[in-house]
Symmetry: C2
Subunit: 878 residues, 2 copies
């Protein structure tokens, strides 16, 4: 076991075993850590008087003790198990190992959370060659016995389970039988003998006849299963500490397979697909739990039970209401009916779809079961994606080509295309297109706009393709490394298959799946329940939610989803418009400030118009505009033909243009001439932008009377002096115009800016944390290149989450905290926001709430998620 | 005046004026801030009884008051100036403005530090149409008078100085005279009249006849000169606060031009070129100070004075000894002899060459003038470069082609070559070569080795070329942006000139100058004085000094210069060797761990041998070996021909090789798959290196019995888990070998590592701050790309120094401090070092001393600088 587990001192009085039942109930639902999930709920149901077969629980502390003491049990355990057993015998009025009327037990594992790889169930413990006769000596009794040997032989004694099935199959063949149900008492009796021989042969040990030996064997098997490779792997992946341990549930066996007045079933207290408040479940007459799962017979719906066993149904329905009232949530239950008597074997919170979760939560509030705050906390914010994007019909057949990263949620079908111009052309002809690229660049924006979905073979969750697709609300599968796109050959190769332009694929951006052909979709809808819950969330949250948006379409979408302003308008996105890219390039290739200014003069009217559109949509709301940020070479063409076209348009030689492009090339553009550095080196660019912003705001004011709540943001500040110089420029331009209100602020996206925040705040009126770049610089990881090692890093648990998706609280988080504190110390009312990808991530939003930021800003399609997560964070922080 | 200057309250008693002289001396040398440098030393000389003409000083506070109060003087000033004046009159026994025997005054500026742009001197104040007669009414008197009008008219009244010279020229032409000395009393008298007319015509005001008006005019001119554009610019560039202000020195004029028993001269108390303890200076008989400067007559050496004026010389030589004893440093003095009487007009610390500084410091210690500690503090560490590298003969004529960054000190001459292979070939033929590249890459290492010096047109002080050249101790001029290198055309164009291969140039890597042709050099030598001082420094310092070195040559050089171990052995440098680069490339292009391992097996013997060499040289000293750090694509070829050659060697298709190279391409390699990430993704590479290190250490032990003090360093750690995984690997390999001692540590070169240092120290036994990368990530600046804006950033004072050359104490420094604190908190004895470029920078070393690091590591040629700077830092920190 892990070295960091230090044995706790054991006292003589320490309690290791907890009874539950009608007469004595020593645990409750709050003790999941001690009793495991299943055990705690069994105790709870007993406690509130529901019909639970009595039993006892060996606590998780036994497991911990077991592994801390070289796989040995605490001294007191045998006595305590005996005492638990006596309590069961007392309540049931029958004895374990009694030949006449034997008590049979089940043993099940039960960790805090349900965990694959753990031992499931051993039923019918207590049966042996003698007690089987006490059980009835009939077909039922021998069937039970052979099931015990089979399960026990497999799980406890390690006999290959196929051997048992082979013996049954051989028996049926020899006797010309088809189904297990056709085997009679003698048949099972003969099979029991065969099974016992098998166990002896395979293990060198006979199947244990002593019921207590059986019981301890089963208990030991549960504890041993905590350390199976599968359980260890699962814990590692899901970050479950080893020292949580598992509990063992020992419980009286009841039989749903003892005749036609017996049954077993599972149910949800409400419909888990829709959330409708209707009892929803199914059952099988004369069957044991495993038969329901095995799917040999088709279970009946509960409505049938209402007709067939009206009394029992009534009791079950009453329990359904008791459970919901008690747990205040939709429950997933298991029950068994033995000779018309109903027994509850399990209850737990029911899994549900996103629409069902919403409906349950909202309706439970109106039913008075839960408060609005509880309703808000019930919904997983990430699940809202299901409501906002088309999804693949779960029932549809799928032909999986490959898997990439689930980079932007939703699903889409279309014909593959490798070129953005081509994509645009085909889309204009009404074709549905999936744009497939090695990776995308700002030059692909029009192709991405035209496409239904985007597929890249390189890049991570925050690659250009992923970020832009999320902004557009289009599905995107990124970094599908199994796919090889060959632009020259116009082929997409994947695991031996070759696809060509026009071939149809379907992308599931929520799972990262790339599927061959067209597949049925479920269309999204903003339901009444959704709108109600979002309103409650809005009332509960403290953080404002803004959008990262620059186009009119983005801004409209953002507003529709409830954005309270724009937190990040990336002006560079406006530069790529075909109407102006030529002037932009002319500006970049200019060799003197004059040439540059003349090109900028041509861009300015467009920029002004862009801002006018944006301000109109966002009237009255704050709009943060970031001045030009990316390195200029991002705007330049790379292909020879494009360079030639540009040279012609600019009346320059292609050589000259190539030279200048080469000159602008950078080794690490992320750390190069960009952001505020552009504004310092080429002030005329920022001057043009600032002028366009102010003129647009004044034009709106003149036209509509609306005041724009302007926030001008300078990117990539590392020193106060940069901020001083650029603020002076902005103020200077403002001073030449009609009076206008605005704030000047900066992104905090470099470690140095975070550390120097106290001083920078002397000049900056707001901070917006650019957590993408801050993560890149703090970690020293380029998100464009992280794909080469991120998967390995996650596999080796160096990263438990992708730091570009969910904020690294320890490293990047410390810088954010420090910057917020220092910024506020200098300027008490400094406005603090965040506009990186993390603005739409619930875990990160919890952190931002704790640090006390004023707002978060995210891509339009993540706004509902952000609103809900912000509400949850506020409630959690109360 | 600047807004941040707040007026101080003025009290009636406040002292503004300080007298100095024989009878009353109110200031001393410690009051430079108040009295300015010149004034404080005049007062000091008076105080210790040297013959200084009496005078008084208007303090710098007058200047500050003047600018804080709309250019007005404090109320009390007139009375205090009057009183100062009366004190002079009393001591001299003559009166200011007296017609019979007028006292004449000089007015000079005097800031804390000497500053270009400030008013220099106005002599002979007090002369007018009447007093001139009292002075003698002779040629001397009228010459003095015209000098006053000329200086005063120019400096105080703003008359163009050329007009005065024109009038003198016209006079001489009219009277057929050649030299000013030929003008007689009447001539000067006539010129005085012309000058007065000129002043009246040009300014509309007559030349002031009132001596007090003259005095106040001159004082005002000094204060006004504090705000001339030239003074403001100088202050800005040199970071001199505006509120320091300047003092004004008013002093009795003495005349060195009153006859042949008069003289004026300047001297150093020791030889400023060699440091020899011999009086060194020159003088002119019958001359005023300005005549010495004007250079019309050749001054005589002081040895001549010893013969001509033995009495005066004796007095002067005595003063020389008094001054040295008093100031405990070599002095630069000015003196005047009037009628055989010696007057001291200035003393200040004498400027000197680096060898002179060393000799002075060491000899002064043996003379008992100063302590060893003072001697250590006397030497500017950066100046040692002059002693370690060849320098251009200061007397040689220079033809400057262009200037770049002084990237690696020293000078070299050679024929230009554009290609590293060609450079190597020509150097093998005995040719001296200057390698000229747009920028260099690791592929140029052999060319750089072969060259005498390196010139690049791109890249900053920490570009590849600069760093490698400093490591090799070769001169380098980097980022010479005026130079255009065209590889195809094989030309180097600079300001219209075209140079071709074979043309000779000379580089001065200490100044950044690129000169045409061959130029005379002075060769370096490690003198006895140097060795003595370095030994003292070693005794005084706390910081250990190690070298960044990997080749045997580097290691030998480092040891010669006093390195106490290797702080950074960059194993990747070993990969470029032609004997193994093919295997390295094979390793990189491998597609399976097996292929990779088989290539690594071929590299391993070489690596082991490299380490054996290194360990032998460094026996007994610690050696820190950094595992592979750079992105793998740095090792791959880029040119088509090289790719084809590689493909052939590897029996792969060129397409395949190109594809794989393309696949390894990164958008931001600095932030990509490198450092520890390589060790995680391709463990077999690090395994090979670690094995080679251990085997080499064991081989040495076997051969020589020496134990190697091994420190294995993992680069680019961002999380503790990376360190855990790699430390486990290192320990695992060690456990398969004979017992060997070693430490495992990490570079702290990412902001996150610095913040998480407390946790990382649980696994790391030492930290070495990689301040190059830490600066890159903290600032978000790629040093390869910074050239595009760094010069502008320095011009606009965003950076007062290049953060890659001198540590950014506020930002990067905070991270280093935090990391050191947190690391020590976890592991009290953690070893802390630094191995970035900053390890050889004196200012940075002061910071590292303050933070309490254990050692600094720098390139071999900077080790003496580091040793001295470390000693100074230790002394300053005492």
């Amino acid at each position: 076991m892990a070295k960091n587990l230090k044995p706790k001192p054991v006292t003589a009085q320490q309690k290791w075993v907890y009874s539950f039942g009608h007469e004595l109930c020593e645990g409750d639902a709050s003790q999941k850590n001690l009793l495991g999930g299943k055990g705690a709920n069994l105790a709870e149901m007993s406690r509130i008087g529901l019909p639970v077969p009595p039993g006892f629980i060996l606590s998780t502390e036994v497991c911990t003790h077991f592994y801390q003491n070289s796989n040995s049990y605490p001294v007191a355990i045998e006595l305590q198990v005996d005492s638990g057993l006596r309590q069961i015998e007392k309540e049931m009025g029958i004895q374990f190992g009694d030949i006449k009327k034997p008590l049979l037990l089940s043993v099940r594992s039960g960790a805090r959370v349900s965990m694959p790889g753990m031992m499931d169930t051993i039923l019918n413990i207590g049966l042996n060659d003698n007690t089987v006769k006490g059980l009835g000596d009939d077909r039922f009794a021998w069937d039970c016995y052979r099931r015990l040997i089979q399960m026990y032989g497999d799980v406890v004694m390690g006999v290959n389970r196929d051997h048992f099935e082979d013996l049954i199959d051989t028996y049926k063949r020899r006797n010309a039988l088809k189904l297990d149900t056709e085997i009679d008492a003698d048949g099972w009796k003969e099979i029991v003998t065969l099974f016992k021989t098998l166990v002896q042969r395979e293990t060198g040990t006979p199947f244990p006849q002593d019921p207590h030996a059986q019981l301890w064997g089963a208990i030991g098997a549960v504890f041993n299963s905590w350390m199976t490779p599968r359980a260890i792997t699962y814990r590692r992946i899901n970050n479950i500490p080893e020292d949580w341990g598992t509990a063992v549930n020992v419980q009286t066996v009841v039989f749903g397979n003892k005749g036609d007045d017996c049954a077993t079933g599972v149910a949800f207290t409400r419909n888990p697909s829709t959330g409708e408040n209707k009892f929803y479940g199914e059952y099988l007459v004369n069957a044991q739990g495993e038969d329901v799962v095995a799917g040999i017979r088709t279970p009946l719906p509960l409505t049938e039970m209402q007709k067939q066993m009206p009394e029992v149904y009534k009791e079950l329905d009453a329990i359904r209401h008791i459970l919901e009232k008690h747990y205040k949530d939709m429950q997933d239950i298991e029950f068994t009916i033995q000779e018309k008597k109903l027994y509850m074997l399990q209850t737990r919170t029911g899994k549900r779809t996103a629409p069902a979760a919403l409906r349950c939560a909202v309706e439970m509030v109106s039913e008075g079961l839960i408060t609005r705050e509880q309703a808000i906390q019930r919904i997983n914010p990430a699940s809202l994606d299901q409501l906002l994007h088309p999804a693949i019909d779960p029932a549809a057949a799928k032909n999986l080509l490959a898997k990439g990263l689930p980079a932007s949620p939703g699903a889409a079908t279309g014909a593959i295309v490798f070129d953005s111009d081509e994509a645009e052309k085909l889309a204009a002809d009404g074709k549905k297109i999936i744009l497939c690229r090695t990776e995308t660049s700002p030059e692909d924006i029009h192709g991405m706009h035209a496409a239904e979905g985007i597929l890249t073979s390189r890049g991570g969750m925050t690659s250009h393709a992923a970020v832009v697709a999320r902004g557009m609300g289009k599905p995107c599968v990124a970094g599908a490394s199994d796919i090889v796109i060959d632009y020259k050959a116009q082929t997409l190769q994947v695991k031996g298959q070759t696809l060509r332009p026009g071939d149809k694929v379907t992308l599931d951006g929520s799972t990262g799946e790339i599927l061959l052909g067209e597949i049925n979709m479920i269309q999204p809808a903003m339901t009444e329940h959704f709108l109600t819950l979002m309103q409650w969330a809005d009332n509960a949250r403290r953080l404002k939610v803004r959008a990262n948006a620059e186009t009119a379409l983005d801004a409209e979408t953002a507003k529709k989803f409830g954005a309270e302003g724009i937190g990040l308008c990336r002006t560079e996105h406006m530069f790529f418009d075909p109407t102006r890219i030529l002037y932009v390039r002319q500006m970049i290739l200019a060799e003197t400030p004059e040439e540059r200014r003349s090109a900028l003069e041509k861009i300015e009217p467009y920029q002004r118009q862009d801002f006018i559109h944006l301000f109109k949509i966002m009237r009255g709301l704050p709009v943060t505009i970031r001045l030009l940020d990316p390195p200029l070479h991002e705007f330049l063409p790379h292909e020879t033909s494009e360079i030639q076209a540009l040279a012609k348009a600019l009346a320059l030689s292609a050589d000259k243009v190539s030279q200048r492009i080469h000159h602008l090339h950078e080794a690490n553009p992320m750390l190069g001439l960009r952001g505020a550095r552009l504004g310092i080196i080429y002030p005329e660019i920022y001057e043009m932008q600032v002028r366009a912003i102010f003129e647009a705001a004044l034009a709106i004011k003149k036209e509509t009377g609306d005041t724009v709540r302007l926030e001008i943001m300078v990117p990539l500040i590392a020193t106060k002096r940069e901020m001083d110089i650029l603020k002076e420029m902005i103020d200077r331009i403002a001073s030449t115009m009609e009076k206008i209100d605005y704030l000047t602020g900066t992104m905090i996206e470099l470690p140095r800016a975070a550390l120097q925040a106290g001083i920078i705040a002397e000049a900056a009126e707001f901070f917006s944390f650019g957590t993408n770049d801050l993560t890149q610089t703090t970690y020293g990881i380029s998100r464009d290149d992280a794909g080469a090692f991120l998967p390995d890093y996650q596999k080796q648990r160096i990263f438990t989450t992708d730091p570009f998706a969910s904020i690294d609280v320890n490293g990047v988080g410390e810088l954010i905290k420090v910057a917020a504190e220092r910024g506020r110390k200098t300027r008490r009312d400094i406005k603090l926001g965040i506009c990186g990808e993390h603005g739409g991530d619930p875990a990160s939003i919890h952190f931002f709430e704790k640090v006390g930021l004023d707002y978060i800003s995210c891509s339009p399609y993540r706004i509902p998620i952000a609103r809900l997560a912000a509400a949850q964070a506020a409630l959690a922080n109360k």
